[in-house]
């Protein structure tokens, strides 16, 4: 059933195809980080014209499937606006938009994890708004966000095969194309799975090192509390990761 010679022969092509997956992940993640920042800022705004659309968008995107969003962006939207970006650009925008709503939640939880007393102390010392954010709040809010954000990086990476549904030739579509030539299904898809597994395990390992480094300094009692928040968050996002393991296309 399993042909080692065939497996070895397709391995270089499959491995090379991860280049597309990596750049889709990197751009999608960058967009999600930026978009999440905009969404959390708008969502916390005092102005209802910013706050309500931001919260509405978050609800809308979170309650529709990523695949449907991608189909809409790739097939429907170009008809309406008259420009058709490439599959890669559409895929990055789709991933970025989708995960920006989750990232905004990560930011929100991180910010709200900083005790109210820290804001009050900053005010009592007469820090202005910007100084309060950059000197007091963000240095405490960011370290517990790091593992959760890293988690989403992995989730986004594992979502890149979905982009094959909008014709992006990434790893899964490469494998599929191989099967249509050789009519051997077992090796290509198994190898794709194994390669994803290896890469994700390496990612997780690197992330844990970063996390340790970030938390090495200043482990106050409050910091400890927010770290457990980080872990809770991690667990909560885990089922999400598992749900996405099955590619519906």
């Amino acid at each position: 059933m399993w042909d080692w010679d065939y497996a070895w022969s397709i391995l270089p092509e499959l491995a090379a195809s991860f280049g597309t997956a990596f750049s889709a992940m990197a751009w999608g993640f960058a967009m999600a980080c930026m978009g999440g920042l905009i969404l959390v800022a708008a969502g916390r705004s005092r102005l209802a014209v910013l706050r309500l659309p931001a919260r509405g968008l978050v609800q809308f995107i979170r309650n529709t499937p990523l695949l449907v969003q991608l189909f809409f962006l790739y097939y429907s939207l170009p008809m309406a606006i008259g420009i058709a970006p490439s599959a890669f650009v559409t895929g990055v925008v789709g991933l970025g938009l989708h995960y920006s709503t989750y990232m905004s939640e990560v930011y929100r939880a991180g910010i709200e994890g900083v005790p109210k007393g820290q804001w009050e102390a900053a005010k009592a010392l007469n820090y202005n708004g910007r100084q309060t954010w950059f000197t007091i709040i963000l240095p405490q809010a960011l370290p517990p966000m790091i593992p959760v954000m890293g988690n989403y990086l992995i989730v986004i990476f594992k979502d890149t095969p979905i982009l094959s549904a909008i014709t992006l030739v990434e790893t899964l579509l490469t494998a599929k194309n191989l099967t249509s030539v050789s009519f051997r299904f077992f090796e290509p898809y198994t190898l794709v799975g194994v390669l994803f597994l290896i890469i994700c395990v390496i990612f997780s390992f690197l992330l844990r090192r970063i996390e340790v480094r970030f938390n090495r300094h200043h482990l106050g009692s409050k910091q400890g509390a927010s770290r457990s928040f980080g872990r809770r968050k991690h667990e909560r996002t885990q089922p999400n990761v598992d749900n996405r393991e099955v590619f519906p296309g």
């Binding site: 009592a124 007469n126 820090y127 100084q131 200043h218």
Partner: protein, 260 residues
């Protein structure tokens, strides 16, 4: 409202009220504090003492009345000849004169002790890094923590944390400082060291102090005047000797009875 400049007071509450929804916690308070005066606020929990201090620190906005600090309205500013709700800029300017020490310290856990104290002088007062450091070190020496400057707050005892918080507030050189139940979160054996530090500051400083406290002996020792509040009103006030040895109202008598 325009005749504000009274130099004999640093803080003046006039008919100050505060409600949370239907619940009125401060029901019209008049209270003046002279420059350098040490005023102790005592009273049962829920009497609104802390709210009074928090309104002075601009952490809570009064729902009625006015507060003047150094002759200027705190929560109002003049715009086009009318007094309107103060904007952030006005509040920022007013806060230069006010400091606060919190019950739960609220130290910055991501900064070491020195940076906790030196950060605001640098960022807010725009002092040179070296000068901010020197001032912070001097202040930490004053509260007896010169040897702890490199340590993070999590490694300090409660009493040490509160002393850092006191140094952090003092280094900004406010004209009036609110001490909000600064020993209530401390283990009993650590209360003394913090009170000693405050007594020390009270003796040498020309800074006015608003001491919200449950420590009656401390109030008697440090305060020039003791204000007893209950149910959102001031019930009785006077020199410590009067208040503690010759309480007039029934409320104060029964309140003090609990401490004997």
């Amino acid at each position: 409202m325009n005749a504000l400049s009274q130099t004999s007071t640093i803080v003046k509450y006039s008919q100050v009220k505060k409600s949370y929804g239907d619940l009125e916690v401060i029901k019209g308070i008049d209270l003046s504090i002279a420059p350098g005066e040490k005023v102790a606020l005592i009273g049962p929990s829920g009497s609104g003492k802390t709210t009074l201090g928090r309104m002075l620190m601009t952490l809570e906005e009064p729902t009625g009345g006015t507060i003047q600090v150094d002759g200027q309205l705190l929560w109002h500013e003049e715009k086009n000849g009318r007094f309107v709700r103060a904007g952030e800029k006005h509040l920022h300017r007013m806060r230069e004169r006010i400091g606060m020490v919190f019950q739960h310290f609220n130290l910055f856990p991501h900064m070491n002790v020195l940076d906790n104290v030196a950060s605001a002088p640098r960022k807010v007062l725009k002092l040179h890094k070296r000068e901010a450091k020197e001032r912070a070190e001097a202040m930490l020496a004053k509260v007896g923590l010169a040897d702890k400057i490199d340590v993070y707050p999590s490694q300090l005892s409660g009493g040490q944390k509160q002393r850092v918080a006191i140094a952090r507030a003092l280094v900004m050189n406010p004209k009036v400082m609110v001490f909000d139940e600064v020993t209530s979160a401390l283990d009993p054996e650590l209360v003394g060291e913090v009170l000693e530090v405050i007594k020390d500051i009270a003796r040498q400083g020309d800074m006015a102090m608003m001491l919200i406290t449950h420590e009656m002996d401390f109030a008697r020792d440090v305060a020039d005047r003791v204000v007893f509040g209950a149910d959102g009103r001031i019930v009785e006030e006077g020199p410590p000797k009067e208040i503690f040895e010759n309480p007039k109202s029934d409320r104060l008598q029964s309140f003090l009875g609990r401490f004997r």
